[in-house]
């Protein structure tokens, strides 16, 4: 067993974990942060995407022990109270159907907009190339991200 200490959504955690425990299972099963989802076995679908030290990663392809000392944000930590503009945009633009890919998509969208506040459609599609959606065909997700970008830049101006 290994002791790990990390910050998740601004809160400090200290837990004992088996070496082979996947980060996604640590989040879901140990901490009951079930917003991060499992959709495949091979790191292809992106439903497990979280932010680790400011970068999006697939939490199914990380061991919890690798996150020791780290700073994670999961979907639960995106907003407290009022929704983040990206979350609002997903609802405004019908980017949510079954909701299973949504947390991962939102994490990827937030990462994109942090680096690229005014992304082109091609940049948006590349930013979510590691997130599979089975329901929407992506178009309304792309529109939502674009819409969120526009709203955020209005707010800034």
């Amino acid at each position: 067993m290994h002791k790990i200490r990390l910050r998740i959504n601004g809160k400090e955690y200290e837990e004992e974990v088996e070496a082979r425990l996947l980060l996604v299972h640590f989040l879901r099963d140990k901490l009951h942060l079930t917003g991060t989802h499992v959709g495949c076995d091979t790191g292809n679908c992106g439903a497990c995407t979280v932010s680790s030290n400011g970068k999006t990663v697939k939490s199914c392809n990380m061991l919890a022990v690798q996150a020791d000392g780290g700073d994670l944000i999961t979907i639960e930590g995106v907003a407290t109270g009022a929704l983040d503009p990206v979350q609002e945009a997903f609802l405004d633009k019908f980017a949510v159907q079954c909701g299973y890919c949504t947390p991962g998509m939102i994490m990827s969208a937030l990462a994109l907009l942090k680096d690229t506040p005014r992304p082109t459609e091609a940049e948006i599609r590349e930013a979510i190339e590691g997130n599979i959606c089975m329901c929407t065909g992506y178009q309304q997700i792309v529109d939502a991200i674009s819409h969120a970008a526009a709203r955020l830049s209005q707010v800034r101006e």
Partner: protein, 801 residues
């Protein structure tokens, strides 16, 4: 039947793209999928056969049972001994099958033992310790092999691998072919694929000793039928099973086949003091978690030289794998949709359901309609070319015309409304058809190959169950119906409980819009339970989310129950305001007199009377404001061979696609994608667009990327998303979507099915575009998927994809 104008008081919400506020939980990660439920569960998993066909020998579970943390183990034979066999629906030969393997295994992945451990990690270690003896048998994988007289039998008692074989002729097919100027024919092959919802199957089963009953949570798409199937197979009364369906991460039909696993979960839950949870892995899902059957379709059209189709002959052979419950279903649905959008009066269909050592099949998105429209629309394109006719012109020549609606096909399927020519006209305009054809010419000279492909397809919905005329006796289900409970609560807000379930289709929002306009309130005052609990739910045997029935029977039940609530609200208001009902009007969550506007009572006040001050209600009126309604589509007739009305609504769409084929690599890229879609009236255009686009992307996956590849030993080579390829955001076109609305006369709202159309219409449109692009190379498209390798080989050598 309630008229459309009688339904609504206001028209503020119906038909508008109202935001899916009810789905806020999904953007905050607060969805409640089965694996999220906060129960302390043990974890179950399955030992699965590595052989496609083998006698099942000794199963030694002792090492697994001895492992610390393992709580229970059961073998397939043990489960079989405690259960009834699985029922078949459409096949006509005997075939005995249990929910887990017993005696022999019939596909790679068939569950042979179930292990329960304290957590997922120990579980997977324990699964490796179960030792199973297999005595391999000869394997039969493909249709042609399975049909040989000396083929190994998947079900010995059937005496054959062809479990359904029927031929239906309508009109005068011989005359049609005699009178034809031209006959075009082709053999088409469509692969095995699946819509693979992002959330896999998930079940929690709990055994309650005190009542000898079970509570099950599962992301099941058909709770009505599942409860029946599970209880039948377990041999228990319906009252002994409570099924709860929470949030579900996509279904597309794949989650119609979860119920066999609920059975084994229930049995093993008896042995453990905790609820037992099984979360299917993606590997299991792709391996044996149900597929669309692959098929070989031979299609022939008898045509006059002016392009008119006189007759259609089809020979439809499908590879139903090894699950008898769904075998034959696809054949029947293809038959129901044989003529697509065309006025063809003579038809001849030979259908065969063939079992092999491939994985089980299920009614995946479209259920045979993608294959049917693919073959018909491919052949239509080919016929046009053969006649030197423009493919659009060929379709105009053969469409069922709007004035022919309602149109009855030769075997009795009734198309209630639709304007196919207008859809095609609109699509041609949107895609700049003539301009693109000109561009194609000049690009060809420069060595760039673009192609234009069209398809016109029907998108039926609301399955009229009981169409399995092929099996003996009275069908277990007939028609289609749903139940709803609508109530006004203490605050005068509305709660809806629907017998059905959903997997992301936005039912709660759609319901809130309709109810809001029926009661002159705002949608935020209407909530619908996001979870179906059979203990409280007004479900029926048909209840579930499949065959696009929501717009018809689900909404029908909601509307009728809401109307009952509205009638009662008005009666109470009339009593309180001392006014006849005819002098009352609803507005802003209140009822007021038309004669005196200040004579007014709010919903909250009415609810107070109904729930609390019951002595002030009109005499002889029951207290409460909670009404149940059950609604069936009243146009459904008992289906039979000669009156095969299988689907109760018929939307349609035209897909017009421009592709570019990289003739050096075989890769296909989209340049333009136009969809003209008619689903009758739309409750929420934002939701409809999402369904149409999402469904089309499923079709793109089927057309270009996805395939379950089997080797000659029945081993499946594509069991992860690294090998079974799904479309990603990065490689897709922007879809240009527009709508027609041909109201449906058989549904209360005039709506039609939404959700399958894209998967149905896209296949032929893309294939037609690819073939069109490769005209200079003389390449024909006769199969899917159109992988780059197949395309390149066709260009360079074989001339056939």
């Amino acid at each position: 039947m309630l008229k459309f104008d009688e339904i609504f008081v206001t028209r503020d919400w119906f038909g508008k793209p109202v935001r899916r506020a009810a789905d806020k939980r999904f953007v905050t990660g607060e969805g409640s999928y089965v694996d999220d439920l906060p129960f302390d569960c043990a974890h179950a998993g399955f030992v699965r056969s590595p052989h496609a066909h083998a006698r099942l020998g000794r199963i030694d579970t002792s090492k697994a049972e001895a492992m610390t943390g393992v709580l229970a183990v059961m073998t397939g034979p043990e489960v079989a001994a405690l259960t009834n066999p699985v029922g078949a629906r459409a096949i006509t030969r005997p075939a005995r099958q249990h929910v887990m393997a017993t005696g022999k295994v019939r596909y790679v992945g068939e569950p042979v033992a179930i292990v329960v451990a304290e957590n997922r990690y120990i579980l997977e270690d324990a699964l490796e310790l179960v030792e199973v003896e297999y005595d391999p048998l000869p394997v039969v994988v493909e249709i042609d092999d399975a049909m040989r007289s000396d083929a190994p039998l998947v079900f010995e008692e059937a005496g054959s691998n062809i479990l359904l074989h029927d031929t239906l002729s309508h009109g005068n097919i011989d005359e049609a072919f005699r009178e034809a100027d031209v006959v075009v024919k082709e053999q088409f092959r469509i692969q095995r694929f699946s819509s693979t919802p992002l959330e896999n199957w998930a079940i929690i089963a709990k055994y309650e000793k005190g009542t000898d009953s079970y509570v099950v949570w599962a992301n099941d798409q058909q709770p009505g039928r599942t409860i029946v199937n599970v209880c039948n197979v377990l041999g228990i009364a319906a009252s002994k099973l409570r099924l709860i369906v929470p949030d579900s991460g996509g279904g597309f039909g794949i989650k119609l086949a979860i119920w066999p696993y609920i059975i084994s979960q229930c049995l093993v839950a008896r042995k453990v003091d905790k609820p037992v949870k099984w979360i299917q892995t993606r590997h299991e899902h792709l391996l044996g978690g149900t597929h669309t059957p692959d098929c070989i379709v031979d299609l022939e059209l008898a045509i006059k030289k002016d392009g008119k189709i006189l007759g259609l002959r089809m020979r439809d052979r499908q590879n139903d794998g090894s699950f008898v419950h769904t075998a034959g279903i696809y054949n029947l649905i293809k038959f129901a949709n044989l003529v697509g959008c065309y006025d063809i009066r003579s038809t001849h269909n030979e259908m065969m359901s063939i079992v092999t050592n491939k994985a089980p099949t299920v009614q995946n998105r479209g259920v045979g309609k993608p294959a049917m429209m693919f073959t018909l629309e491919r052949l239509a394109h080919r016929a046009a070319r053969h006649l030197g006719m423009d493919p659009a012109e060929f379709r105009f020549r053969n469409f069922i015309q709007p004035e022919q609606m309602p149109y009855t096909t030769p075997w009795g399927e009734i198309y209630e409304s639709g304007n196919y020519p207008e859809c095609l006209r609109k699509a041609l305009a949107q895609i700049n058809y003539d301009e693109i054809k000109g561009e194609q010419e000049s690009l060809r000279k420069a060595g760039t190959y673009i192609g234009i492909g069209l398809s016109a397809s029907v998108e039926p919905g609301t399955s009229n169950l009981g169409y399995y005329y092929t099996s003996r006796g009275t069908p277990e289900y007939m028609g289609n119906a749903e139940g709803a409970i609508v109530s006004m609560d203490y605050d005068g807000n509305i709660n809806v409980l629907l017998g059905s379930v959903e997997e992301g289709q936005g039912h709660a929002t759609a319901v809130s819009q309709v109810v809001a306009d029926m009661l002159a309130i705002t949608p935020d005052r209407v909530t619908m339970a996001s979870q179906m609990d059979s203990m409280m739910s007004p479900f029926l045997g048909h209840s579930g989310c499949y065959a696009n029935r929501f717009n018809d029977v689900d909404m029908g039940a909601v509307i009728m129950a809401t109307k009952k609530v509205r009638d009662k609200v008005l009666k109470i208001a009339a009593h309180k305001l001392d006014s006849p009902v005819t002098e009352l009007q609803l507005g802003n969550g209140a009822v007021c007199s038309t004669k005196q506007k200040d004579r007014r009572i709010t919903f909250k006040e009415i609810a107070t009377l109904a729930y609390k001050q019951v002595l002030l209600l009109p005499p002889d009126m029951e207290p409460g404001l909670k009404e149940v309604a059950y609604y069936k589509n009243s146009f459904a007739k008992l289906p039979g061979k000669e009156d095969f009305n299988v689907q109760m609504t018929h939307g349609n769409s035209v897909h017009a696609v421009v592709v570019e084929v990289d003739t050096k690599s075989g890769m296909v890229h989209f340049r333009k994608y136009v969809i003209v879609h008619d689903c009758g009236r739309q409750i929420n255009p934002g939701i409809v667009d999402g369904m149409a686009i999402g469904s089309t992307v499923h079709g793109i996956g089927t057309a270009l990327l996805e395939e379950f590849v089997y080797d000659e030993n029945g081993q499946i080579l594509t069991t992860s998303f690294a090998d079974y390829l799904k479309p990603l955001a990065i490689d897709l076109p922007r879809f240009e979507l527009s709508h027609l609305e041909s109201p449906c006369p058989t549904t209360l709202l005039g709506t039609k099915a939404v959700g399958e159309g894209g998967a149905i219409g896209s296949l032929a449109a893309i294939a037609n575009a690819v073939e069109d692009a490769l005209t200079p190379f003389g390449v024909k498209v006769t199969s899917l998927p159109m992988t780059p390798e197949k395309v390149l080989r066709a260009i360079r050598e074989t001339k056939v994809i």
